[in-house]
């Protein structure tokens, strides 16, 4: 059977300044809850800048690393995502994932089992910048597209992309 071609995303699809969705807002709240419970020291600017996908990702990476301290990583080398081991894709389409640095071992606290509703309320108190959420009126689609376009045009150099 002939290989079936799979087109990649548009060059303009990447938009790290896109406002976070309702899903990502919830994910952030869960991370904020855990960070507060564990008294994790997060850089203030990173903790505050969570209203775009790129900003949220930076914050999530910091908290995830803190939670995974001491867990050995098996991602010791760069791994191609596109293509396959035996039949690598074109050079331009094979992208790479970062090697995870080994982190020092540390202790881990046990879940204390607090009430779900109380935890949810507490988490809601953690300030999160206003975002466009499902069910709320958002900016017009035209404006959204314009913004996406302008984001692309400000790029200074082409970058590799992961699938």
């Amino acid at each position: 059977m002939e290989p079936i071609r799979v087109p990649g995303p548009s060059p303009t699809a990447f938009h790290k300044n896109r406002r976070i969705s309702d899903l990502l807002l919830s994910q952030i709240r869960h991370f904020q809850h855990v960070a507060e419970k564990r008294s994790l020291k997060i850089n203030r600017e990173i903790a505050r800048d969570v209203h775009t996908e790129g900003g949220a990702a930076r914050y999530i990476a910091v908290v995830t690393r803190a939670l995974r301290k001491g867990v050995p990583s098996t991602a010791a080398k760069l791994v191609p995502v596109g293509g396959s081991k035996t039949k690598p894709g074109k050079a331009g389409t094979v992208t790479r994932i970062a090697a995870a640095a080994k982190e020092p071992r540390s202790g881990r606290s046990k879940e204390r089992g607090s009430a779900q509703r109380a935890a949810a309320k507490k988490a809601k108190r953690v300030p999160v910048p206003a975002v466009a959420t499902a069910g709320k009126k958002s900016k017009s689609r035209t404006a959204s597209r314009r913004k996406a376009g302008s984001n692309v045009s400000t790029k200074t150099k082409p970058r590799k992309r992961k699938a």
Binding site: P7, P9, S21, H33, A98, A99
Partner: protein, 409 residues
């Protein structure tokens, strides 16, 4: 249907991989396949919803990869009530007409023309990966999301077989009466092997408070998953989460584009992600014969589907009207909107169309039955669920030249 452990495909089975994508309905992604195979319960082209002016709006194969579903369609409990029953405040005994999707989407922008785009579906040729897997392996005609609500409570069913009474994203601490599938597997002696792979640390997981916080060693990255495939070190059970955000790659190598297919992310990135997972298993001759891959979506994301969700075994939990945001509580006794689900294995009959009803509670249910056998402390929904692995039913593996491969552009 339970599994028959004497079947050749089950005897050969060593690894199960579940890839859960985001927020697309069955009809939106696979509805166009009905024209190719009438057994697939997709769209005839005559399905419609009324818009807010009373005009009949028909489904059309005009779905685009990006920019069409902005803002993200509402899929919280009340909005899904409107989509299914036509009333955001009330559910049964109203009949599930599936006539409220356009009106529900209208609420977000008050744009009549735009609201009709919630009925758009993909022409099959626009989704070569998903439609090829659906037609070459087994597609489920009746796989529903577990709850008529959003992501996190639906994903909980895939990990625990229940959401412990939650119908929203505010799922912080789970009950202790039912263990996650991972805890069950790791509690055995000798331990079974399992891993929950998120894309990278910047995307991370939706299971933050319970699993990541307390059992960080359960997790690995997508890179770890690919390495495990190459080194024939895949766990018995793997659960994959896609990249949820557009972000700079953590090693500074470039852009990590979201591949979860959540609106408004480019659907093609998700197609490539699914193809990468499939190819990695498919092209390893030591892995392909003994691995089953399930590709499934967590919920419909507010996007149209024409099949009314059925009743189901009550979960034993109740959500209050305050939880649901409607006039009614919820006893977890009916399912959410239908989602795409595809089972891939060389032991699956080509072109299978499965009519049995499934929902996400069957994921821990199937893995538990396959690896642990009987296990009492499970939710009623999980106990009542069927085993999706039972469709590895062929007596002999399919020939290698009969199996598709994907080439990523």
């Amino acid at each position: 249907m339970p599994i028959d452990k004497n079947k050749a495909g089950i005897k050969a089975l060593q690894h199960v991989v579940v890839l859960m994508m985001e927020n697309r309905s069955f009809d939106h992604m696979l509805g166009g396949l009905k024209a190719r195979n009438p057994k697939i319960d997709g769209l005839t082209g005559n399905e419609w919803n009324p818009d807010t002016t009373g005009t009949m709006v028909k489904v059309q194969p005009l779905a685009e990869y990006q920019s069409q579903l902005d803002p993200d369609p509402n899929h919280h409990f009340a909005a899904v009530n409107q989509q299914i029953f036509g009333d955001p405040s009330n559910g049964p005994p109203l009949q599930p007409s599936m006539q409220g999707f356009v009106k529900s989407y209208f609420n977000q922008q008050q744009d009549v023309a735009h609201s009709g785009e919630i009925l758009y579906y993909f022409a099959p040729e626009k989704l070569p990966v998903l439609t090829t897997l659906a037609t070459e392996f087994a597609v489920f005609n009746r796989w529903f999301s577990s709850i008529p609500g959003p992501t996190i409570c639906n994903r909980a069913f895939a990990h625990y077989g229940t959401s412990f009474g939650q119908v929203s994203m505010n799922m912080f601490y789970v009950g202790k009466q039912y263990k996650s599938i991972y805890e069950r597997l790791l509690a055995t002696k000798p331990k079974h092997t399992c891993k929950l792979y998120y894309y990278d640390e910047a995307s991370s997981t939706m299971e933050v408070v319970n699993l990541l916080q307390n059992q960080p060693s359960l997790f690995g990255t997508f890179s770890d998953f690919l390495n495990a495939c190459d080194q024939n070190a895949l766990p018995e059970y793997s659960f994959l989460e896609p990249n949820y955000t557009d972000h700079d790659a953590l090693d500074g190598s470039g852009e990590a584009i979201a591949c979860d297919q959540h609106p408004d992310h480019d659907v093609r990135a998700g197609e490539q992600f699914i193809a990468t997972v499939y190819n990695r298993i498919r092209q390893n001759s030591k892995l392909w014969p003994n691995t089953a891959l399930l590709v499934v979506y967590d919920e419909h994301g507010g996007i149209y589907d024409h099949v009314s969700p059925p009743a189901c075994t009550p979960d034993g939990f109740s959500a209050t009207p305050a939880d649901t945001g409607t006039h009614e509580g919820f006893n977890f006794d009916r399912l959410g909107v239908r989602v795409p689900a595809i089972l891939v294995s060389p032991w699956v009959e080509k072109g299978s169309v499965i009519e049995e009803v499934f929902e996400h509670a069957c994921i821990p249910g199937s893995i538990t039955e396959f690896l642990l056998g009987s296990y009492a402390a499970r939710s009623p929904r999980e106990i009542a669920s069927s085993n999706f692995l039972s469709y590895l039913s062929l007596d002999a593996m399919r020939a290698d030249n009969d199996i598709p491969n994907f080439a990523l552009d």
